[in-house]
């Protein structure tokens, strides 16, 4: 479904990704893990078009995305929940979700999508009229995910959804992600909570200083000595 081949990208003179190749098949959940500054966020930004790749190929359902601006990539069915959530703090919860359905194709089914998001995240339904900035961290993350679902995507990119959440909230959030998954969405997720995310996904990639160091099935990967020592903390 999504495929990157030899993608190199960076900011100005600086190169953050070196020849990264990665694939995600339809219905799959895939994780990208790695230390701080490895380039995980950059990878997500390349896929959603916020950073354009210098070299390499980027295809989604057979179509190349490499030269498209971010706002056109969304229309292909790729929703990006950015690092730090980036909800619109001064808008209400309902307006944030409305912006998630900004795409013309999404506007038609706006009511339906809203219904689904509210069923998935009842906490949001209760706070429809509240300013998004006044939500708790966990609720803001739900809102960010809900907003992404509003565009009726085929794949969701989640960048460190657990960032800044209390451990209990992290567990609840992972439960929610699991439910999103069960709804049939394809997921590509970046996480620091390696142990927990490996239980949730089918496959994982290990990214270090801009290069893919390892990849494999999640259960196999978590057995690897190297990963256990460095990331899982066992």
């Amino acid at each position: 479904m999504l495929e990157l081949r030899g993608v190199t990208a960076g900011y100005g003179q600086f190169t953050a990704l070196w020849g990264v190749s990665l694939r995600v098949s339809a219905g799959e959940a895939v994780a990208v893990v790695g230390p701080n500054g490895a380039g995980k966020t950059t990878l997500m930004r390349v896929i959603s078009g916020l950073v354009s790749p210098r070299e390499g190929d980027l295809t989604f359902e057979g179509q190349s995305l490499a030269r498209l601006p971010a706002h056109e990539i969304v229309a292909h069915g790729i929703a990006h929940v950015p690092e730090g959530r980036r909800i619109f703090p001064m808008l209400t919860v309902a307006d944030n979700l409305k912006m998630g359905a900004f795409l013309r194709s999404a506007r038609r089914g706006y009511r339906d999508s809203l219904e689904r998001v509210y069923t998935l995240f009842p906490a949001l339904a209760e706070r429809q009229k509240q300013r998004a900035g006044s939500l708790s961290g966990g609720e803001q993350q739900m809102l960010a995910i809900g907003r992404a679902l509003m565009s009726r995507p085929k794949i969701i990119l989640l960048d460190e959804p657990s960032m800044g959440l209390a451990p209990v909230m992290v567990l609840r959030l992972f439960d929610l992600i699991r439910r999103v998954r069960e709804e049939g969405y394809t997921i590509l997720v970046v996480e620091q909570n390696v142990r927990q995310i490996l239980k949730l996904v089918d496959r994982a990639y290990l990214l270090e200083v801009g290069r893919i160091k390892m990849e494999g099935r999640a259960d196999e990967l978590s057995e690897q000595d190297f990963v256990r020592k460095a990331y899982v903390g066992l």
Binding site: S48, G49, L50, P69, A70, H71, E72, V74, A75, A79, H80, P82, R86, I87, F88, P89, M90, L91, D95, K98, M99, G100, A101, F102, L103, A106, R107, R147, S151
Partner: protein, 288 residues
Amino acid sequence: MIDPIFIAEAALNGILLGGVMALLALGLNLIFGVLDIVWIAYVELVMLCMYLVYFLVTGYGWPIWLGGLASVAFGAVLGVAVHLLIISPLLNSAAINQFLATGGLLFFLQSFATFLWTTDHRTVRLNLPIIEVAGMFLSFARLIAFVVAILAMIGLYLFLRHTFIGTAIRAVSQDRDAMRLMGANPQRVYVVTSAVGGAMAGLAGALLIIQYSVHPYFGAAFGPLTFMICVLGGLGNMVGAVVAAVIMSEIISVGGVMMSTEMGYVIAFVLFIVMMFARPGGILAKRE
């Protein structure tokens, strides 16, 4: 001693002027809020629109309401043109360059208007009655302008609250990149914003030409006042804009009767400066 009735009359006129000033300040506020750029030449666009209405009505005999509609459309076109020709290339430039470019536009429009139409003052004469209320004289034109301005602001409010693009305009001003991830082309949102801001200038032009005469330096009187009301109102705060506009217009109107027009402006501007220190977030903002 000035007869209190004159002061009461001035106070009432201040409120009526406040309506139109609020409309203008909101147009500028919208652009400032979304693009983070102050159009120094904003009121010069109003001036052009006033000329348009003047020529359509006195030259071609159009009815004033039709001239007003044309002015709204013309204002929108001007807004888009300013955005595409001047703002868009400078979106990521230093603030000073943005000030200068729109300041250059101010020189350009003022002088070009002088070149085309000389510095004569031109007035649209409508045969509208003067209303007498409790010994005060009020011009009907001002009353109409006030009502139309209020209606337009309600319209703008509904547009920004309830349409997708209106909500997107508010969202872009909070997080441009996140809005790209929603599938909105920021450039398009900017164009729409500039068109709406320009249309408000056009409407304000139509409302002003029925109360004031137009000349190339019209913007010199109303321009700084508009920036100040815009900032005083607080970014994106419509109620704030109305409150700020009414306060400033009151000071100018009443101060003008009690002292002189210039002193009215001086007091209003000094108030602005003081308020910037006391309430940098706008007149209605809570202090942090």
